[in-house]
């Protein structure tokens, strides 16, 4: 049994001088108290990555709260009747397109006794029928028929006043932004463009302004909490350190022009770099002094680095997140979406969708496919991410209950900067998290 009581916390506060700066925060809805360190978001309690009760609370306050959750892309459900299964937190959802071309999302859970109504992860349907007792729903989630509703030969059946209209699938509010579909359970979630803010909206439009097509789709099952993944994608500090390939082949250096951007709320972020814009003379990179750069390495066949300038702004590497769980990436010409789905407090599944444009020439598709070697579970610049987030999950086991991460690179600001030697982007995530979770 897990007990985190205020009593225990305050007893510890008296016993240990290190605790005197801490303010116990909430005990909302009878859930465990989490004492956010007085240093604010420059400290992150390890409990957040590990505690089953926090995981439960995320389901209600974050995933059912005022957040826009990634559901899928237009090009995944182009035709009426097309659908795709996804998850909002732990909740299974169906994203589908109705006869009129409108996009809907509903919980994939039968209103009768809770079975999944749809099993195959993608397909085309005229309606959704639950296999258990054949309750059927239209593409908007309305209950259209109940087997033996009037009984058999006048015996049995549902009560006469049973109203189908009250027993549809639970629906999400859906909003579509340049072919990207988001859903929310909450009435309080502001319109998406307001949620994103002008800068984030503009950058999202940048790559998603033309019809796209899927060129790859798979997932990575990670043995760590989902938030470690979101921290990792929002962490420009590690990029040229952990990923030796980046530094060794000059794909990304801190000296290159770029920015770490946050919207006003801090919830969403972008980090981008522009290759070919730096001069390493006089920097830490000069003379191969950095242990993480092996610039003597030469590729046998540099085809993998072939690219073409696709965006007029000259950005060669960009990662953008929309709070809470989705990442949009552009690594040279390798475009894609990564969506993290929590699978309990200690595991998560990372869904990768690799993209091109509908009107790509074959040579462009080929370059995108080759560059896909850089990303994903076998990626030259991302294989390490799954390893290292798991190292954190294992490293925090059995620590002091008050143990916490230090997120202080670049001070305590949650603001955009031209340098990427900062963890402001991670602090922004925790700011959003605290606001939504009430910590």
């Amino acid at each position: 049994m897990i007990t985190y009581g205020l009593v225990t916390a305050s007893a510890r506060m008296r016993a240990c001088p290190a605790f005197t700066g801490l303010t116990p925060i909430s005990m909302l809805n009878g859930s465990p108290a989490l004492t956010w360190p007085a240093q604010g978001v420059t400290r992150v309690p390890y409990r957040l990555y590990d505690d089953p009760q926090i995981h439960e609370r995320e389901q209600s306050l974050l995933f059912r709260g005022p957040t826009w959750n990634y559901l899928g892309l237009d090009c995944e459900i182009p035709q009426p009747g097309d659908y795709k299964l996804n998850f909002v937190g732990a909740t299974p959802v169906i994203l589908c397109r109705d006869e009129n071309g409108e996009v809907h999302a509903m919980v994939n859970r039968c209103a009768h006794r809770g079975s999944l109504v749809c099993i195959d992860k993608r397909g085309n349907r005229e309606q959704f029928s639950c296999v258990y007792h054949n309750w059927s729903y239209n593409l908007r989630g309305d209950l259209t028929s109940v087997a033996f509703k009037r009984g058999v030969r006048g015996k049995g059946g549902m009560p006469a006043d049973f109203d189908n209209a009250k027993h549809g699938l639970e629906r999400l509010r859906v909003t579509s932004f340049n072919g990207i579909h988001f859903g929310t359970f909450s009435e309080a979630t502001p319109p998406l463009e307001q949620y994103l803010g002008p800068v984030m909206s503009a950058y999202l439009k940048r790559a998603y302004s033309r019809p796209m097509k899927v060129i790859g789709a798979h997932s990575q099952y990670l043995k760590n909490n989902w938030k470690l993944v979101m921290e990792n994608v929002r962490d420009p500090y590690h990029a040229s350190i952990l990923h030796l390939f980046f530094g060794s082949f000059g794909l990304s250096r801190q000296t290159m022009k770029g920015e770490a951007l946050l919207d006003d709320s801090g919830w969403h972020h972008i980090v981008y770099t522009k290759r070919g814009t730096d001069d390493i003379r006089g920097s830490e990179y000069e003379g191969n002094k950095l242990p993480n750069m092996k610039s003597h390495l030469k590729l046998n066949d540099p085809k993998i680095l072939e690219e073409w300038p696709e965006f007029p702004d000259g950005i060669t590497n960009m990662v953008q997140t929309v709070f809470p769980t989705v990442t949009f990436q552009q690594i040279s010409n390798c475009l894609g979406v990564r969506h993290i789905v929590p699978r309990g407090p200690h595991e998560s599944e990372w869904f990768w969708t690799l993209l091109g444009y509908e009107d790509d020439e074959p040579w462009q598709t080929r370059i995108r496919a080759r560059q896909a070697n850089l990303i994903g579970p076998a990626g030259f610049i991302s294989l390490e991410d799954g390893a290292v987030t798991n190292f954190v999950q294992r490293g925090i086991q059995g620590g002091r209950p008050d143990a916490m991460a230090v997120v202080e690179l670049g001070g305590s600001s949650i603001a955009s900067s031209e340098d990427r030697v900062t963890e402001s982007t991670i602090r922004g995530f925790w700011k959003g998290y605290r606001e939504v979770m009430g910590f």
């Binding site: 899927v214 060129i215 790859g216 789709a217 798979h218 997932s219 990575q220 099952y221 990670l222 043995k223 952990l242 990923h243 030796l244 390939f245 060794s248 092996k294 390495l297 590729l299 046998n300 066949d301 085809k303 993998i304 599944e349 690799l354 598709t365 080929r366 995108r368 496919a369 080759r370 896909a372 070697n373 994903g376 579970p377 076998a378 030259f380 294989l383 390490e384 799954g386 390893a387 290292v388 798991n390």
Partner: protein, 169 residues
């Protein structure tokens, strides 16, 4: 009758011979990876070649992106270079179990064959897991003494990878 029987017998031997050559190549391929002799791995392919690890489902949908895509022996060598020099991950051991090979087409120059495989992965803490299962779809050329892969599709049954793929499957 006798003549036809002979012709049939000759053809059957060709296919068997082809199968033996493919099996030998596959067994060497698996041993080379499982023994960590990664540097010998690219030499089992022709100079111009295609090596793709991709979920079977993605392949059937016509997707081109999977986990590994190498289009030359040099790109295969780069995979090994990076595995040795830049990739950071926990050390792990593969054990390939190669199933029965079916030769789909063959002639004197080469053949196309399919072979099921499984890979058991053991991590340094001793945990063992069935890491991958699927089939190899190989285009093999018989060049002089050696058989070489011209194309090797590694079609994984699952769309999901447990944490990461470092060494080739």
């Amino acid at each position: 009758m006798a003549t036809r029987k002979t012709a049939a017998a000759t053809k059957a031997i060709d296919k068997t011979e082809a199968r033996l050559r493919v099996e030998e190549l596959l067994h060497e391929y698996a041993a080379c990876i499982d023994d960590g002799r990664y540097e010998e791995w690219p030499a089992m392919f022709t100079e111009e070649c295609r090596y793709l690890i991709i979920p079977k489902e993605s392949h059937e949908r016509g997707y081109v992106s999977g986990f590994y895509l190498c289009e030359s022996r040099g790109m295969l060598a780069d995979r090994i270079l990076c595995l040795r020099e830049t990739a950071i991950y926990e050390s792990q051991q593969y054990r390939h179990l190669i199933g029965g090979t079916r030769v789909l087409e063959c002639n004197a120059a080469g053949c196309r064959a399919e072979t099921p495989f499984t890979v058991i992965r053991t991590t340094q803490d001793g945990a063992m897991s069935l890491f991958a299962a699927g089939k190899y779809v190989d285009e093999v050329v018989f060049e002089s003494e050696r058989a070489l892969f011209r194309e090797k599709l590694v079609l994984t049954d699952s769309t999901r990878i447990d944490i990461l793929i470092a060494a080739p499957l």
